[in-house]
C-alpha cells in the first residue's frame, strides 16, 4: 500500500465518517488519518435519539460510536467542535473555522444533513423543537413531561417515533400530517395504515391532510393554527419535516451536486481525489442504476466501509441494498430493496397483527420487501428477503403469500445462502 505524505481527511464525524475512518484502519491503511466534526461531543449514533434517549432508557454516553480511547488506539486524529469552511481543490487543502489550513491526499465528505425548518409565523417561538442532534434530544426530553400537550408536525418516521416516545412518557400527542397517509414517501399504503391504527390505538391523535398555517403564542408556543381554520392548543411543538443535505462545501468547491453530492459507483465525486458518503451523497442504485440519496443508518455504515476500500484504490461497485428500520411503541418496521420498482405486490399476513409485503418486478423477481410486527419478529424474514432480492430470484406468488411456507426454504439454490 502506498503511504501518502498527506493525511486522508474525513469531513463529518457522524455514522458514515466514523465508519469510514475505522474501516480504513481495518483495511490496513497505516498512514495519517484525520476525522473532523463540528459537533462538540464524541461521535454518536442518531437512531436512539428519538427512541431510547427520549424515553430515558439510554444515556447520551451510551450512544457513542466509539469512545475516545478507540480513536487513540486506532491512531485516528479526531477533531471535534471544528468546522471545515472551505475546500481548496487547486492546492488539495481544506480551511477550518479556526483559521488553520490542512493539506489532504484524499478527502471524504460525510457531512450528513440538517433539519428542514418551517418558516410559518411563530416559527421562532420558545417550545418549537427539531430533532437531529444529541443536544436537540436532551432539550426535548426535558420538556416531555406527563400531561404536556405535544403537537408533532410531520407524519414521517422521525415525527412518528417522537410521537410514540412522547405518548409513552404520558404526554397527550397530536400528529399533524399534510399528506393523505403516514410516511407516504417510504411506505406502501398497507403499512401506512398499520402505523395509523397503532398510533390511534395508543391514544395519539393523528390528523391527516392537515396543513399548518402559523404557530400561535407570544413568547412561548401555545397552539398551531391550521389552514382550514382549526386551532390545536399545545405546550410543545416538534417539527419533523425532513432534512436538507449539507452540500454547501461541495457546491462551493465546484463539485457536481444535484439532490446530494453526486458520486459514481465507487462513491467518488466529480473530483477523483474527493469521495462522499452517507445522507449527503447521491449515488447510482445497484439494482436500477438510477441515482438516489438515502437517509438511513445502514446506508451510512455500508457506504463508509465501501469508501474505505475505494479510497485505498480498490475498484469495486457499491452494491448494498437499501435497508431501513423504525421502532414505534412495541412494534418495528423494516424495508429492504426498492419498493418503487415493483409491478406486483404480495401480502403475507403473520400472526399477532404482523405483515410482510413483497414487491416483484415485471419479471417476477423480488425487488423489495417490507415487514411490520411486534418487537423484532419480522427481522429474520426481511433478512431472507434481502438475500432473495440480491440473488434476483423469481419466486411464485403463492409461496410468498402463504405463511405456512417458511421463507428460508426459498433460499435453496441461492448462491449467497
Amino acid at each position: 500500500m502506498i503511504r501518502p505524505s498527506e493525511p486522508i481527511i474525513i469531513v463529518g464525524a457522524g455514522q458514515a465518517g466514523v465508519r469510514a475512518a475505522l474501516a480504513l484502519r481495518e483495511q490496513g491503511y497505516d498512514g495519517s488519518l484525520l476525522l473532523i466534526g463540528d459537533e462538540p461531543q464524541l461521535p454518536y449514533e442518531r437512531p436512539p435519539l428519538s427512541k431510547q434517549v427520549l424515553l430515558g432508557s439510554r444515556e447520551p454516553d451510551q450512544c457513542t460510536i466509539g469512545g475516545a480511547d478507540l480513536f487513540m488506539e486506532q491512531d485516528i486524529r479526531l477533531l471535534t467542535g471544528v468546522r471545515v469552511e472551505r475546500i481548496r481543490r487547486e492546492i488539495s487543502s481544506i480551511a477550518l473555522d479556526d483559521g488553520a489550513t490542512l493539506a489532504y491526499s484524499k478527502l471524504l465528505l460525510a457531512t450528513g444533513g440538517r433539519v428542514r425548518t418551517v418558516t410559518v409565523q411563530g416559527a421562532g417561538l420558545a417550545g418549537v423543537h427539531y430533532l437531529r442532534t444529541i443536544e436537540d434530544a436532551l432539550q426535548l426530553k426535558a420538556q416531555l413531561l406527563p400531561g404536556q400537550r405535544v403537537v408533532v408536525v410531520g407524519g414521517g418516521f422521525i415525527g412518528l417515533e417522537v410521537a410514540a416516545s412522547a405518548r409513552t412518557l404520558g404526554c397527550s400527542v397530536t400528529v399533524l400530517e399534510a399528506g393523505e397517509r403516514l410516511a407516504a414517501r417510504a411506505l406502501p399504503p398497507q403499512l401506512s395504515e398499520k402505523l395509523l391504527q397503532l398510533h390511534r390505538a395508543r391514544g395519539v391523535d393523528v390528523q391527516l391532510q392537515s396543513r399548518i398555517e402559523a404557530f400561535a403564542g407570544t413568547t412561548v408556543v401555545q397552539g398551531v393554527a391550521l389552514e382550514d381554520g382549526r386551532n390545536v392548543p399545545c405546550d410543545i411543538i416538534v417539527v419533523g419535516i425532513g432534512i436538507a443535505p449539507n452540500v454547501e462545501l461541495a457546491v462551493e468547491a465546484g463539485l457536481a451536486v444535484v439532490n446530494g453530492i453526486r458520486v459514481n459507483h465507487r462513491l467518488q465525486t466529480s473530483d477523483e481525489h474527493i469521495y462522499a458518503v452517507g445522507d449527503v451523497c447521491e449515488f447510482p442504485s445497484a439494482l436500477t442504476g438510477r441515482t438516489m440519496r438515502l437517509e438511513t443508518w445502514r446506508n451510512a455504515e455500508e457506504q463508509g466501509k465501501h469508501a474505505a476500500r475505494t479510497l485505498l484504490g480498490h475498484d469495486e461497485n457499491f452494491s448494498a441494498l437499501p435497508w431501513f428500520w423504525s421502532d414505534q411503541f412495541d412494534y418495528s418496521l423494516q424495508i429492504a430493496g426498492e419498493p418503487h420498482m415493483a409491478a406486483h405486490c404480495i401480502e403475507r399476513p403473520l400472526t399477532d397483527d404482523g405483515l410482510l409485503i413483497f414487491f416483484l418486478n415485471e419479471q417476477q423477481q423480488l425487488v423489495a420487501a417490507c415487514g411490520w410486527g411486534r418487537g423484532n419478529s419480522i427481522a429474520k424474514d426481511i433478512k431472507i428477503a434481502e438475500i432473495l432480492i440480491k440473488a434476483r430470484r423469481t419466486i411464485a406468488h403463492e409461496a410468498l403469500a402463504d405463511p405456512a411456507i417458511g421463507l428460508k426454504s426459498l433460499l435453496k439454490g441461492t448462491s449467497d445462502a
Binding site: 443508518w297 445502514r298 423484532n376 419478529s377 427481522a379 429474520k380 433478512k383 431472507i384 428460508k408
Partner: protein, 104 residues
C-alpha cells in the same frame, strides 16, 4: 464447577436455526448447526440488548435482527462492525432428546 441445565428438546430447534432459552433472569441462545451440532451463547446482542433468537442463522453465523451484526456462534466471535464485543459461549451436550447447557 459445572452447572448443567436442561435447556430444551432437540426437536425444538430446526437445523440451521436458533431458539431462545431463559433461566434465572438470564437469556441464552441455543443453535443447531447445519451438521446437527448444538451450541449455546449469551442470548442478547453485545451491540444493543436485542434477542439474538429473532435473528437469522446461516451456516455457523447468527445475524442480529437489529443491525445485522454477525457472530460465529461456535466461538461467539464478533465478525465486525457494528458489533465489536464477542458473545460468551457455553458448553452444550445432548442426552436423549434433551439439549443441556453448562452455565458455570
Amino acid at each position: 464447577m459445572s452447572h448443567w441445565i436442561a435447556a430444551c428438546a432437540v426437536d425444538d430447534i430446526e437445523q440451521e436455526d436458533v431458539a431462545r432459552f431463559d433461566h434465572e433472569g438470564r437469556t441464552f441462545a441455543i443453535y443447531r448447526s447445519p451438521d446437527d451440532a448444538f451450541f449455546a451463547t449469551d442470548g442478547v446482542c453485545t451491540h444493543e440488548k436485542v434477542h439474538l433468537a429473532d435473528g437469522l442463522v446461516m451456516d455457523h453465523i447468527i445475524e442480529c435482527p437489529k443491525h445485522n451484526g454477525r457472530f460465529d456462534y461456535r466461538t461467539g466471535k464478533a465478525q465486525g462492525a457494528p458489533v465489536c464485543v464477542s458473545l460468551k459461549t457455553y458448553t452444550v451436550k445432548v442426552e436423549g432428546d434433551r439439549v443441556w447447557i453448562n452455565l458455570d
